[in-house]
Symmetry: D2
Subunit: 298 residues, 4 copies
């Protein structure tokens, strides 16, 4: 019966104009409703209510991307600032993100515990974050890479993770920040050995095998006169984005009374903006200073 | 005990350089492994094996986006071609996509039934499609909108739907193509009424209330002398992308023997490319002509 | 290739004993491993870590079951006690259940927040609870229904719900207890109207339409001289099962020295048992009195 | 605000009868609706449409259960028949099961591809199968174990697996039947070595280490004069339950005209019943003989 009906509908699409009217009157809407059963194959991926929802993005094949675009090693300031600009755009354009944390080619976004944005559907959360971040990356690229044209559009993979309470959320963020610390220390020594001591990457890797954090700091200090503690905080701690009230002053030309004609008017407005910090988020200090991030009324 | 250990680790981070070495030797790796339990909160979102996996993208707030960028109504050729260019990039850059279908501001991507790309994790599929599509949209924008600068980076939401067999997959694609047909017919009449007959949007909407497909075709023909059958196929059918072998000729300057020095060499290569078709995919003809799309060996 | 191999294997199964040995050496294990791919279709249904896991059971078609087994209306003491006996067996036989709450033909079981029983797989939780409860129902039936044989084995449907914190868990239990209260009040009046006032079920239903709790209490008091507040707590509040230390005395015949031969020895042992309470669990009092239920060390 | 309202409600429950009426008028329904948000924590576990849904049950700790109840080794006929009786009850009492396959202490149930029973919710499928099976196990126990009282109510764990097409479903069933074959062959030799040759379990295990199927058959034949091919099919193949039309004759005493008074009447009725087969389901023969199992109209 189904086959018969679709056959009829296909006949309609090919039909001469004489019979088309009658055909279409029956056909198109019927066809639509016949096929609409395919919607039942969509699954519900609602995130558990009252939990923190985290979306983490990672650059796809960014090792190659960094090579092709001559990123500085071990850290490319322009690339890190561009990542943060994209994350800020995501926070401004999407709803309910209370905090973001980024390092290297990854960024995590934390949606507020009781967000009901898109009914908490995980697929909406992660695809909107991923696509907004990716389009922003290309859009803002020229602002950060003036002399380096973008050769191809990059991809980012994402995932959603749900954390039931403040402790697990904070531990998640700590996990990412410790990861930042470990990787940055490693990369700092590794590239010093390669760029300054002339080792090959394989030799540098060999040299660092089995060393712990303190060993690496020692190498940096004794061989390259680098005190790791003085390295930029953005490299060592990554970037935290939280909403902060800022006074924004805009200059605007306006029609004014004759006596002050031609003057410009400064408009001042207090707005919340996602501002970048490069601080420790593992200890309690950060959370005590910004209690509003985790506190939500029932 | 946990609290004690984290406290110790925080102490390390703040420690003077004298004690730092010992601290770090114990601290960082330990901290990393302590926090790593947060990975257990990630869920497995593997798509059911041996099934077609479809990722569908939709432009976010594209009504407004179209307004802001002066898209032609009811169809903007540049915008449609840009969408298709992005979809082609997605097919070229990602793995295992056998077909894509697009219309308006949406595009569906079909991964082959036995794909094991990223272990079939739904989140990987949808975020990589969404981000690659979005970055391509900004990247290729200038090629299609020469006189219209892009004002802001757009977002796309995505979802994954799994279809267990050929029939349900074909019905899914039919559902989208019927939707294309219905919307395009409606929009074609609607904008004729507004642009040519001078109705307000509300009046046009009123006029079309309760009409079926044939009524709309009649209005187009009798009032605007438009035979809907002659409208461009891309508008009526949307765009199907499938892999086709094409011969690509590239011209290359090469070192050649003296007697033919200075000449250029034409290199010809047969490659598979995602080519655009604007044909019916509801009937059997398309699938019979391209049996390789659905056929897969066990 | 696959088809060929299975054909070979089938050949083996039918083979004469001459070739069987060689066949089987290759065949059976190969066949097992060939088919083992079907395990990949199982999905991971791990419950989010650090959350309360609740399994709720409901009797299947218990309206009919109650009719067939002549349950007293509105409450059958034997049936309620049997339900509680089954729930106690579930708590004793399974792991990590910290509390159960039952009313009518339903029972909820709360697993401790950090349980890792069966790796927190939802399917294990709910099927083990459902099957243990159901087998216990038949097993203990004769103890509670001496004169009423069990006519057929009953079914119970179950579900798993995950609650991220104490507040949501307590609200879940409150929801069930309020439900118990509402249903029991309704049933008490309804059956008074039917059994004592001689109304038909339809008439009783009509009579109660639109009444609120206080109206029903008024009817009970003024027409049937029943003070609802004096109704048994088990009916009004349902049954809460929590682990309580109890001293268990068992009498055992043991080999003893000659002078006290033939005597029995009383052995006393302190054990934790799931004991039944019929108290309010909506207010704070219960939780303050039993803080150990919700408190867990990290 | 929420806290205030709950406090008010708790006050109501404790209130004197004077204020109770007004309290309850506002309170109970309000409380119910206030707590009802906890339902949003339930997740949708719908099985993918148009796919075969399999529920597999396994006896919990049946090694111990078999010991305690003196099951014969390697196969206990009574236990196997009881399992099948339970599976038949499940098929009769639940909806849409087209086939069941059992061996040892496990049973798999296949729901028809387009079943919409309980909206295809996995939790309903598995808990109803598990509970019905478990209650039947206790209910029918005395019919199969006349001289062996049931010592305690057993548990069964279950899971749901979804198969998208006939091939994967048949491979699943083949996987279970090959498993039956491998285990039964092993157990048959193992217990012959223990029971007849007097080896300890550890010695028997050692003896069989590294042997393939043919080696085991050889041991059986040469040492115990057992031709494995002659072992009962139920042991070697397990049990398949499919619906078969059977003529059922019931004898009934009825009021009859005087001239034939006192006679009994035989009533014959054709009904579909889940009948047990012990045949190969790996090859095509079974499926060709019973095409109705897998065939379903669209």
């Amino acid at each position: 019966m189904w086959a018969a009906r679709t056959a009829k509908f296909r006949h309609c699409l090919a039909a001469s104009s004489v019979s088309l009217r009658r055909c279409l009157r029956l056909g198109v809407t019927m066809a639509k409703s016949k096929f609409a059963y395919v919607r039942d194959f969509e699954t519900d991926d609602t995130c558990l209510p009252h939990c923190w929802v985290v979306v983490r993005l990672d650059g796809r094949s960014f090792h190659r991307f960094a090579e092709r675009h001559n990123f500085a090693k071990p850290n490319d300031k322009r690339a890190l600032h561009l990542m943060t600009r994209c994350a800020q755009t995501v926070m401004e354009e999407l709803e309910d993100i209370v905090l973001a944390y980024g390092q290297s080619d990854e960024y995590s976004f934390v949606f507020r515990r009781k967000s009901n944005w898109f009914k908490r559907r995980a697929s909406k959360f992660m695809t909107l974050v991923a696509s907004q971040f990716a389009s922003s990356y290309v859009f803002y690229w020229p602002e950060y890479f003036e002399d380096q044209p973008l050769l191809y559009p990059p991809g980012f993979d994402g995932r959603v993770v749900v954390y039931p309470n403040n402790q697990t959320l904070k531990d998640y963020l700590s996990w990412r920040q410790v990861d930042c610390h470990i990787n940055n220390l490693y990369n700092t020594v590794f590239w010093a050995l390669v760029q300054q001591a002339g080792l090959t990457p394989v030799q540098a890797q060999e040299r660092l095998k089995g060393t712990v954090a303190a060993d690496k700091q020692e190498i940096l200090f004794s061989e390259f006169n680098i005190n790791y503690n003085n390295e930029p905080l953005m490299y060592k701690k990554g970037t935290v984005l939280i909403w902060q009230k800022v006074e924004e002053v805009t200059t605007k030309e306006v029609k004014l009374p004759a006596e002050i004609e031609g003057q410009k008017m400064k408009l001042s407005q207090v707005r919340a903006r996602p501002l970048a910090l490069h601080c420790d988020i593992i200890g309690d200090a950060f959370w005590k200073e910004h209690p509003e991030i985790l506190e939500e009324d029932s």
